[in-house]
Symmetry: C2
Subunit: 299 residues, 2 copies
């Protein structure tokens, strides 16, 4: 709310819908145990939607419906004791559902990021614009974030204007998808920063997401999700003896570059670390990455 | 010839054709005086062609025909005492001219870079392929280089294959145009490196060219010439209080990034510094840039 950055989040994908309550609780407990070593400012809980309409290519990992992140939080993550940023793929929910969820949240503990449809011809129960209105009416104190996509800026050069439009609709921060292309992210931050300056407005925090990648299949999944991996990084990962370790070094270097850049420009930023895959080695490397970046934040 | 890198070149544009011999000699003497503080491995002498066919936009600086770089070298730069890489826009010369020039060169003192037509529909006196044949027949000991364009790799992803085809036609090194986009250069170096490895061949030196930019007009001229300037760098230069100093810092950072990257990959590289404009402050800052990079080369 005070537009300060330098905070650390860790992102989780809820367990599969098919998981029993006992199994889901086991997963939650194990996750919190893993994250105990970190001094996190918050969790991010993704709302996974079947985005196969967005990309005609075969999804490298099959789509398996996951638990509602709001339910996962309220039922299984009560012990977390830190705020959670709950994603809402708003097109999945009709207005009464969304409104009652918004009203039920404690704004001291829950923030939300609304995500619009993954393609323009996908039918939606609630549009992104309407969801933003509902939040303003029903839960004005609930801190709302939006997604910011450097890759989209590379194509249309107007992502910074979309961000400012989302701010006008109530967004107080932004979260990127996984960043592999530091240059694309810097292009977006730069255009956003100078547009804010020309409007006499202060920029809000941009949360950059980083992840390790332990195999070529995970790399291909990232690309399927729309993450643009620069050719030289892709080559490096494909030829690495240890893909996971190479991607860890890569993510760290990219994060450091963006942190230094944002500090220089005076754009507040947060760091979000996620594990794209649910393989144990990749999850553990993600926690290590978060621990390392935590030490470099000016908190 | 031994495929070692870590060398330093400084690039010059010959004086205008309209300059008198006395004036040309004054310019040459002043230039060599300026470069005396540097420990250069060689000069680069550009062959300026009217490339207005390549770009329908208005040329930010007017095209003024310049002296033939071979003549500038032989008539005015005899005191340089270092090898010179003489560019040849081969389309400008007919075969007998090109052959007799090639035969007249001392391979201990002169190297050449052949540049093909700036667009496919431009009529040429000699094609790039034919010029390469002439060199192989008439001056096999004259070390030949080719141009490598990271921006073209970004569009077609096959610039590394063009480079290998040029090697097969006799090229022993490559020179880029001015590099502002480190990411694009790394993509090309990476694809080139892994293609060499897969063929069991050793990479030849790639010479990266850097330049400062003291005004928005120089920036626009660079862009007109086909140099892709990342949006965040363009913003930085446009909003800088001191464009020249900001571009100096930028060029230095880009050069360091590429030097570290090539060393890590084991691709030999050289550094070439040029002044795109002929304003005194920009020329002096280019010499400073070369001096600074000279100290960072492993020679």
């Amino acid at each position: 709310m005070d537009r300060r950055g330098e905070f650390l989040l860790f992102a989780l994908t809820p367990p599969r819908q098919a998981a029993s309550p006992t199994k889901a609780q086991e997963i939650a407990d194990l996750t919190l145990e893993r994250l105990r070593a970190l001094d996190l400012d918050g969790l991010v809980l993704y709302d996974i939607d079947d985005e196969s309409d967005r990309n005609p290519d075969e999804r490298p990992f099959p789509f398996l419906p996951t638990m509602d992140p709001g339910e996962y939080l309220s039922r299984h993550l009560r012990d977390a004791n830190i705020p959670a940023v709950v994603y809402r793929a708003v097109g999945k929910y009709d207005e009464p559902d969304l409104r009652s969820w918004l009203r039920a949240q404690d704004p001291e503990r829950v923030l939300s990021v609304f995500v619009g449809a993954s393609s323009t011809d996908k039918p939606v129960a609630t549009s992104l614009g309407r969801a933003q209105e509902l939040r303003a009416e029903s839960a004005p104190d609930l801190l709302l974030g939006g997604v910011a996509i450097p890759e989209r800026h590379g194509r249309g050069s107007d992502e910074h204007l979309r961000m400012l439009a989302k701010q006008a609709s109530g967004c107080a921060f932004f979260v990127t998808q996984v960043v592999y292309d530091a240059n694309a992210a810097k292009n977006l931050v730069s255009d956003y920063c100078y547009e804010c300056r020309s409007r006499g407005d202060d920029p809000v925090p941009i949360v950059f997401t980083f992840s390790v990648c332990g195999s070529i299949k995970t790399l291909e999944f990232l690309q399927w999700l729309g993450v643009e991996v620069p050719r030289w990084i892709e080559n490096e990962l494909r030829h690495a003896e240890d893909t996971l370790s190479a991607s860890y070094d890569q993510a760290l270097a990219t994060a450091r570059e963006l942190m230094a850049y944002c500090r220089r420009l005076g754009v507040p930023f947060g760091i979000n670390v996620e594990s794209v895959s649910n393989r144990r080695a990749e999850i553990e490397a993600s926690v290590d990455l978060a621990a390392c970046l935590q030490g470099e934040l000016h908190r």
